[in-house]
Amino acid sequence: MFQTIYIEHEVESLPYTQNIIQHFKNAQIKTIDKVEDYWGRVKKPYLQKRDNLNLYVGRKKGQLIKKAPDAYGTKNAEHYYFIHAYNCIYECEYCYLQGYFHTPDIVLYVNHEEIRNEMLQFIDEDKEVWFHAGEFSDSLALSHITNEWRDYWLFFQNHPKAKLELRTKSSNIKPLLDLPPISNIIITFSLSPEQEVKKFDHKTASLKARLKAIQELSQRGFQIGLHFDPVIYSEDYLARYRLLFQDVFQNLEEENLNYISLGVVRFPEKIYHQVQKNYPQSQLLAQEFIVSKDGKVRYPKPMRMKILNDLKKELLTFLNGQNKVYLCMED
């Protein structure tokens, strides 16, 4: 998977780091002073991740926890994300990471204790505070190698008002199965109809595998979140999503469904140009996009609202009147 693994001196001996090295025996290992001296220092084209992907392991300095943007996550709660990794092993055609960093090379930060210590500053026992992992990477894709969630479990057991969201397009739940389900850790899956997964979510787990993972976690009592985001228009989108919802709710215990988010495909303008460059033939680009008032490239408002209304209405038929659906990044 990785050609070269660059490891900061400072973290070389940590068990997290050693575990990572153990998993990639064929990779060349190089020791460096600081990740920032190499990672992203030169512009490396995104698609080079297909055959030339490197991994950096280091200690994240500076601010470890950041306030999430508005309209992120459920209302009436504070939302933060934390940075434990940059970039992703998957390759989704709409992914904003393709234009966000100057390189597709992956960084794994292993100073998890510092991250948790910083979380303490934001936890308020009177307020619901969410911490989201996976703003810049998939939370579970490499978790059997990075092995960090066990330590977060203990932390969140002691802080029941704080919530942790682990967001994934993988089916890599093995590292979670040894852990007890706790109500304030929510495992969320990004889902799309099967055709869309095949077309746009390259290298991710198949829809079938993700549904199986949802079923397994749900049966064990884990809290599950669902992101139907990004929805990409196709002529029969409603029929495709109806089928998907049927499959999902067959696999999910209702009491373990924490929330559902719905969002229509959108890009910052810079990322849209990257998508055009990286996937010029993509079906994703077939539809007409506009630049909306917030500077994002989206479908025209009537179109995206129609899609969201149609899907929300359909979803509510599966939820016995409970409105656990929120519309992501839409006023």
Partner: protein, 331 residues
């Protein structure tokens, strides 16, 4: 006209012989199809010489950089490689910009260094960025990028870049390397001529401008991805229309667009219905271009009382509530 750039005259020998080039300036040679430039060694020399030639010769349509490179990693020696991305390092730090060549099949990266690499320590430092090193390619890429010309780099991997480099040996073998580069270059261009191929794929009886041609192929690809075809009876209808071949092409492109994105057509149709009370009295109605807001601009010439009555009637018939709901996706 293709511009071939080399750092040294010796590297270009085989090209001189093959293409029977005539001198047309200092270190510049040409025939009907090629211009060959010997830039001299180093980033600045290559950049200034290439910049001069591209400024004076706008007829140059593609830029090539060819020559010898040193190995920083474990690339196989004595082979010619088509380079994917070119980075640069000015001996103190890497330069941020990188340039990706137009060869989609290329898979090896190259670093242009400001000095000759003569020791293992430098080799090791540079190997963190790319497996091959030269002294000019980045500069040529910089200029080609500025002039928006496709850019290719073909390099013969002559030796390992370290203290064992034997410059005199490389110089002695230059003609052999040049022949290998020439044979690679000729092979690279032995593929089918794209333009002729394109012409054959266009429907008969229509006239396509260059832009329409590109759009046609884009839509054609999208329709293929969507598994759709243009109904033959629709094409027949267009061909029977009493309009110019260029206008028929416009009609065909509209039809293709509708097939790709039927939602846009539905929205346009809905909008047309809403605005009918105004359009049928001859008013000009302007909606928000991006369909992000329901604002309307109505322009109507009032010449007499009956114009006022007609406008009043139009305003009465216009259902603003319904129109606003259209923007909330209710249609």
């Amino acid at each position: 006209m293709k511009l071939l750039t080399f750092a040294h005259r010796a590297e270009a020998q085989a090209f001189h012989d093959k293409f029977d080039l005539k001198s047309c300036g200092e270190n510049l040679f040409l025939n009907q199809d090629f211009m060959l430039l010997v830039t001299g060694e180093g980033l600045f020399e290559a950049m200034s010489e290439c910049m001069k030639v591209l400024t004076l010769h706008p007829e140059i349509s593609e830029v090539y950089n060819l020559g010898i490179v040193g190995n920083l990693g474990s690339q196989k020696l004595d082979e010619v490689a088509s380079i994917r991305s070119v980075y640069a390092h000015d001996s103190s730090s890497p330069l941020f910009k990188s340039f990706t060549t137009s060869d989609p099949s290329a898979s090896i990266d190259l670093l242009s260094f400001s000095q000759r690499v003569k020791d293992s320590q430098t080799k090791e430092k540079l190997a963190l960025f790319a497996p091959l090193v030269d002294r000019e390619a980045w500069a040529i890429g910089f200029v080609a990028n500025r002039f928006k010309r496709p850019f290719y780099v073909f390099k013969y991997i002559s030796d390992d870049a370290d203290e064992n480099t034997q410059c005199h040996f490389i110089k002695d073998s230059a003609f052999l390397y040049s022949q290998k580069l020439l044979s690679f270059f000729l092979n690279f261009h032995s593929g089918p001529q794209n333009e002729e191929e394109e012409e054959r794929q266009l429907p008969e009886g229509l006239y396509f401008t260059r832009a329409q041609k590109l759009l046609y192929f884009k839509y054609q690809n999208l329709l293929e991805t969507l598994g759709k075809e243009i109904p033959s009876e629709e094409i027949k209808k267009i061909m029977l229309l009493d309009i110019t071949p260029k206008q028929k092409t416009g009609q065909l492109l509209n039809l293709m667009k509708e097939l790709i994105n039927p939602m846009t057509s539905i929205m346009q149709e809905e909008l047309g219905k809403f605005l009918k009370p105004f359009t049928q009295i001859g008013a000009q109605v302007k909606t928000d271009n991006e369909l992000e807001s329901s604002e309307l601009l109505i322009q109507y010439k009032i010449r007499n009382q009956s114009d006022i009555d007609r406008l009043k009637r139009g305003l009465e018939l216009f259902d603003i509530k319904q129109f606003e709901r259209f923007f909330e996706g209710e249609f």
